[in-house]
């Protein structure tokens, strides 16, 4: 066969990539994927539910557990509502690894951000991301590739941090390649130097900056800037510290990352106590008008 059409090229590539799973999982579509693996949508015939099956694109050539297996192990250790649970894992006849996980239905954070979503909702989503990442850090896992494309928001406000394939869990790395995404990687990660939880804090700062759009308030911009400071020592040292500052901002309290001016403080205090201030003002004005009317 000398000529293969573009359509046949696509079909042949898909055919060669198609995973040969056992009868339990019937593949119904492709959800997406990246350099490491492809995620298929499948129906679990035993439990009668839809699941996601992630399959490595190629078997590891050096006989080691590949990143996909490592990701499955990490996910199985991280039992948190913001982290996708793993149901099953195994080996395909052609040597590729796969694991089965909950099928998350929703939109990626970058897709959410492209819509006009109120700031309060955006910050609520971000706070849920922080909870999941803080949980991972507490279990010694650093994600290393946090970005809006790796965060899924469900229809009921639930948030899932996805793609833990390059996470660092204290064990030796499968390879020494630089991992992460430009713009979300701190300088130490770009230099392939050892990283710790503060690398994720840098990425979270970048996510927050994108989440807030072009004209964030100064306090929020300062939080994002502190989180992604080029010097790890000058970032928030823990996700909890970052979360606390975001929470203060949401509750109109002063944040540690920003020293506000007298005017800004007045405006913030006014907005925080807007209703009681307006009530008192209304009472004072009414009282004044009443007294004036009575000629007192």
């Amino acid at each position: 066969m000398s000529w293969i059409s573009d359509r046949a090229i696509d079909q042949l590539r898909a055919a060669a990539a198609w995973p040969e799973l056992d009868d339990r999982y019937v593949i119904t579509g492709v959800a997406g994927g990246g350099g490491m693996g492809t995620v298929y949508i499948a129906h679990d015939q035993v439990l009668d539910r839809d699941v996601a099956v992630k399959v490595s694109n190629v078997a590891d050539q050096r006989g080691r557990p590949d990143r996909l297996t490592r990701e499955a192990h990490i996910l199985s250790r991280l039992d948190h509502p913001g982290i996708v649970p793993v149901h099953d894992a195994g080996l395909l006849p052609d040597g590729r690894r796969f694991y089965v996980m909950k099928l998350v239905r929703g939109r990626r954070l970058d897709q959410v951000m492209s819509q006009p979503v109120p700031e309060a909702i955006r910050l609520d989503l971000f706070s849920r991301v922080l909870e999941a990442v803080a949980f991972a850090h507490a279990h010694g896992v650093v994600h290393r590739d946090l970005k809006p494309e790796n965060i899924m928001a469900g229809g009921f406000g639930e948030v899932f941090v996805m793609d833990w394939g390059v996470a660092q869990d204290g064990l030796p790395d499968p390879d020494s390649a630089i991992v992460g995404t430009p713009g979300f990687m701190p300088p130490e990660q770009e230099d392939a130097a050892p990283v710790d939880a503060r690398a994720d804090i840098f990425a979270l700062g970048a996510v927050l900056a994108q989440l807030m759009g072009d004209h964030p308030s100064r306090a929020l911009a300062a939080i994002a800037a502190k989180a992604r400071h080029h010097d790890p020592q000058r970032r928030y040292q823990t996700v909890e510290q970052l979360a606390a500052d975001v929470s203060r901002f949401r509750h109109r309290e002063p944040v540690t990352a920003y020293r506000e001016t007298w005017t800004e403080r007045t405006v913030r205090v006014y907005r925080r106590y807007e209703l009681p201030i307006l009530l008192v003002l209304a009472y004072v004005i009414m009282r004044f008008v009443l007294l004036a009317a009575l000629g007192v």
């Binding site: 059409s5 359509r7 696509d10 042949l12 198609w18 350099g35 492809t38 694109n57 190629v58």
Partner: protein, 246 residues
């Protein structure tokens, strides 16, 4: 077998002390790359068919003469990327010098059927892609898959599995624009059960993947390059066509 047994890559074999090994390695490289090179010259460098054909011949002769491939450093680039960069430099120099003389000497004798390549270009579904660099990759994939299908047919003939290949050809090679047949329709046409069609496809796809991986192993120079090329070939971008059997 989880993955293809390690073979010496063609790049390594071009450095062999044995002349026949070197010749075969060059033949493999040329077979995999001549069409991508020709079409790339036609589209990116806007050469007419004759000029592109001359330059394609000359490129492989020159790469041989100047030992460009022998200088390839797998730690710095993929072989495919390296070859395309060499091609750009070569085409640029050729344009500047406006030289078109034929070279003789140590030319590897691989028949290059430019008329066929030209006919293929006329059959492109779309016009020239916006990113002609992608064209080089796509043509390389096309050549890879074409050889994979030929190898698969040979395997089916030699192992008495032609009916399996027939299922594969009718389903995975179908490109008549009317969509692929369902498994049930295929089973009816070929006098098989639907379960047999399913099993045939699973088995022959596994073999096809194996043959493609063996080719990739041959055409790449390191484990990392092999994994990277395989990931791109089989990655999610390849899967839009999916499998619509159900």
């Amino acid at each position: 077998m989880p993955f293809p047994a390690t073979r010496l890559s063609v790049v390594e074999r071009t450095r062999s002390g044995d002349e026949e090994t070197r010749r075969l390695a060059w033949a493999t490289i040329i077979e995999a790359y001549w069409k991508p090179v020709y079409k790339y010259l036609r589209l990116k460098w806007s050469l007419d068919p004759d000029a592109a054909a001359d330059l394609t011949q000359e490129f492989f002769t020159t790469t041989l003469e100047k030992e460009i491939v022998e200088r390839f450093d797998p730690t710095r680039a993929r072989f495919r990327t390296y070859l395309r960069i060499c091609l750009d430099g070569f085409a640029s120099n050729a344009r500047k010098a406006e030289r078109r003389q034929k070279r003789g000497g140590d030319v590897v004798q691989v028949p290059l059927d430019f008329r066929t390549a030209e006919g293929e270009m006329a059959r492109h579904e779309g016009s020239v892609p916006a990113d002609v660099d992608d064209l080089f990759y796509r043509e390389w994939v096309r050549a890879l898959l074409a050889r994979g299908v030929a190898d698969l047919r040979l395997w089916a003939e030699q192992s008495g599995r032609l009916s399996m290949f027939e299922v594969f050809a009718r389903y995975d090679l179908a490109d008549d624009g009317e969509g692929r047949p369902t498994y049930a329709a295929l089973a009816r046409d070929l006098g098989l059960t639907t379960a047999t069609v399913t099993n045939h496809l699973a088995a022959i796809r596994r073999q096809f993947r194996q043959l493609l991986l063996e080719q990739l192993r041959e055409l790449t120079a390191s484990d990392q390059e092999f994994e990277s090329e395989a990931a791109r070939l089989f990655g999610s971008r390849a899967l839009d066509a999916g499998d619509d059997r159900r």
